[in-house]
């Protein structure tokens, strides 16, 4: 008793405790992309240890720059591709089948409640939405994960954030998480796991939970976690129906990874969002957050809708609702990157892509590209972007560029106005 979700997951996976505060845990999945994995592969080769612990537990995608933009990014793809083939890694998503890692892997059913997951990518915390312990790591941790299937973590102290009240119309998970980060700060959860709980989270669909957990790292969190429930099981059902007789039985099994009622937390924060307005960032840190109403009229040069935070189908639907029948302002250009091929084709089927195109958006293939200023929408010096991404660091989307983070609905409204503005979906 008295355990949090992360503690229960650690208990089920611990293989060693090299000191009183360090836990070496067995990994259920190791995710890889073409930016941070090639240096690990090259290092393993140089050490004469070009092996993988279990090819079926390693999932690989090329997503950050796709298709390759130059010889260097082509080489990164090549190293990853040949390595995946050499080791018989069948879950490898190459150009055409690829999408933004933290949108693609959940969609494929690769994450389950109680799992331990690492990836050489800070937004790996997204997968905590499924009740998993999922953490971004550096290349060396990734390298050891690939080779040995283990990773070391400090004891997972947990902050519980109870989101209470009810979501006002036109206010989304993105606004909620921005308000949380604004409140606790960029290092408010450093070295800690954030458990997102309370009635608002319980009522959220999986995509909204992913948006919440995605940005746990922007408050320094090791992982964001939502307790598994019926919503989790229903999302995963197509992938787990062979393992269980019924969704009820699956839920019963997964409830093992819900926190004890008397679980001991580092802090419990009550966060009432009844009066929350749509939020936007204004500086170079994700905790520089204000209501959109206080930033109205700020001109922008580019709108970007996409990324692992807000590039899923529900995000595109919300933006399309605002855009339908409207044109983007002459003073801006706008880009939408559906996060995965299935998001893309679903959006095509629903007529959403047409709405974006009719409004004047450029539609790109699924890729991270613009989000980290590598391709498909890099900013010029002095330019400003309204983005549905997760990071507004100085130069993040291009040297000298400024990023305002917001929800897809706000971004769509901003595209039409040419300046930051609340969407008509928000009715106060």
């Amino acid at each position: 008793m008295r355990k949090t979700i992360a503690q229960k997951i650690f208990d089920a996976h611990r293989v060693a405790k090299p000191d009183k505060d360090t836990h070496v845990v067995q990994l259920d999945a190791v995710f890889c992309h073409e930016i941070t994995t090639p240096p690990a592969i090259v290092d393993l080769e140089q050490r004469g240890k070009d092996r993988v612990f279990d090819p079926s537990r390693i999932k690989v995608v090329i997503d950050h720059v796709s298709p390759a933009k130059d010889s260097k990014t082509a080489l990164q793809g090549k190293i990853l591709r040949t390595w995946a083939r050499r080791h018989g890694i069948s879950d490898f998503f190459d150009i055409g089948a690829n999408g933004v890692c933290h949108a693609l892997f959940p969609e494929k059913g690769f994450v389950r409640p109680g799992y331990t997951v690492i990836m050489g990518d800070s937004h790996t915390c997204t997968h905590g939405a499924f009740g998993a312990f999922a953490a971004g790591v550096g290349t060396t941790d990734l390298e050891v994960g690939i080779l040995k299937g283990v990773c070391a973590f400090k004891s997972p102290e947990t902050i519980r954030i109870n989101i209470t009240g009810s979501l006002p119309g036109g206010v989304f998970a993105k606004d909620v998480i921005l308000s949380v980060i604004g409140r606790i700060g960029v290092d408010g959860a450093t070295n800690k796991v954030i458990e997102f709980a309370g009635p608002v989270v319980d009522a959220m669909d999986m995509e909204s939970r992913m948006t919440m957990c995605n940005m746990a790292i922007e408050a320094g969190g090791t992982c964001g976690i939502c307790a598994p429930d019926r919503t989790t099981v229903d999302y995963l059902w197509p992938f787990i129906k062979k393992e269980f007789d019924s969704p009820e039985q699956a839920l019963e099994t997964y409830l093992r990874f819900t926190p004890d009622e008397d679980a001991v937390y580092d802090a419990i924060i009550e966060h009432d969002i009844s009066n929350l307005e749509p939020m936007v960032t204004f500086g170079y840190k994700p905790d520089n957050v204000k209501p959109v109403s206080e930033m109205e009229g700020t001109p922008v040069d580019q709108i970007y809708i996409g990324s692992c935070t807000n590039g899923r189908i529900s995000d595109l639907r919300a933006a399309a609702k605002v855009l339908a029948g409207n044109q983007i302002s002459d003073s801006v250009r706008a880009i939408v990157s559906p996060a995965t091929p299935s998001v893309y084709s679903q959006a095509l089927e629903e007529g959403i892509i047409k709405i974006f195109m009719d409004a004047g958006f450029c539609v790109t293939n699924p890729t991270c590209g613009a989000c980290l200023g590598m391709s498909s929408g890099v900013l010029a010096d002095g330019e400003v972007c309204a983005a549905t991404t997760n990071r507004n660091f100085n130069g993040r989307m291009g040297k000298g560029g400024m990023v305002h983070l917001m929800s897809p609905a706000t971004a769509a409204a901003t595209a039409i106005a040419g300046t930051i503005v609340n969407s008509p979906l928000y009715t106060e």
Binding site: P39, T73, D187, Y284, F393, G395
Partner: protein
């Protein structure tokens, strides 16, 4: 084991993020050495000149939450190829801190007032740091003043430094 001695670079700001330490556009480099010229290229800090200020430095002293943001190990690598194996600060982002020890380097946390004392006494002066790993002390020297501070790191972190990093340690132990 690496050495943790040398001239000190003072970075008087909190929340220095990994995009400032090494911008994303250089993540296409496969070799660590190719990162050498780009360390702290985008650092947002008054009167800081990456070209002249980094040269010859082996230790960084900074404030809180250093290395926040992306998981890129390119950040410690960019430090390492510039000969910087030790960063001293009030606190570090988790992934950055772990990456440092995983590479056999050190991210040493000291109390805020100790960091403040170091800035007051040494910032702006040509300062040298000398680390005694076994004793857990770092001695700072400039002109005619000297100050020794004690630090603690966990048993595991210390094992990683001695083993030369996590790959070597994990391969022997698991």
């Amino acid at each position: 084991m690496k050495l943790f001695n040398g001239k000190v670079l003072f970075l008087d700001r909190s929340d220095i993020n990994t995009d400032e330490i090494i911008p994303a556009k250089y993540l296409t480099e496969i070799s660590r050495d190719s990162l050498t010229p780009y360390l702290l290229e985008d650092l947002n800090l008054k009167e800081f000149n990456p070209v002249s200020d980094i040269k010859g430095k082996q230790v960084i002293v900074t404030r809180s939450n250093f290395g926040c943001g992306s998981s890129r190990e390119h950040a410690p690598w960019a430090l390492e190829v510039n000969g910087i194996n030790l960063v001293v600060g009030e606190s570090f982002a988790r992934i950055f801190r772990q990456n440092m020890f995983n590479c056999g380097m050190m991210a040493v946390e000291l109390p805020a007032d100790t960091i403040e004392d170091l800035f007051t006494a040494f910032a702006g002066l040509e300062t040298t740091a000398q680390t005694n790993f076994d004793a857990g002390t770092i001695t700072f020297t400039a002109e005619n003043q000297t100050k020794t501070v004690s630090f603690t790191i966990s048993g595991f972190d210390s094992d990683l430094v001695t083993a030369g990093g996590w790959v070597a340690f994990a391969d022997t132990n698991y």
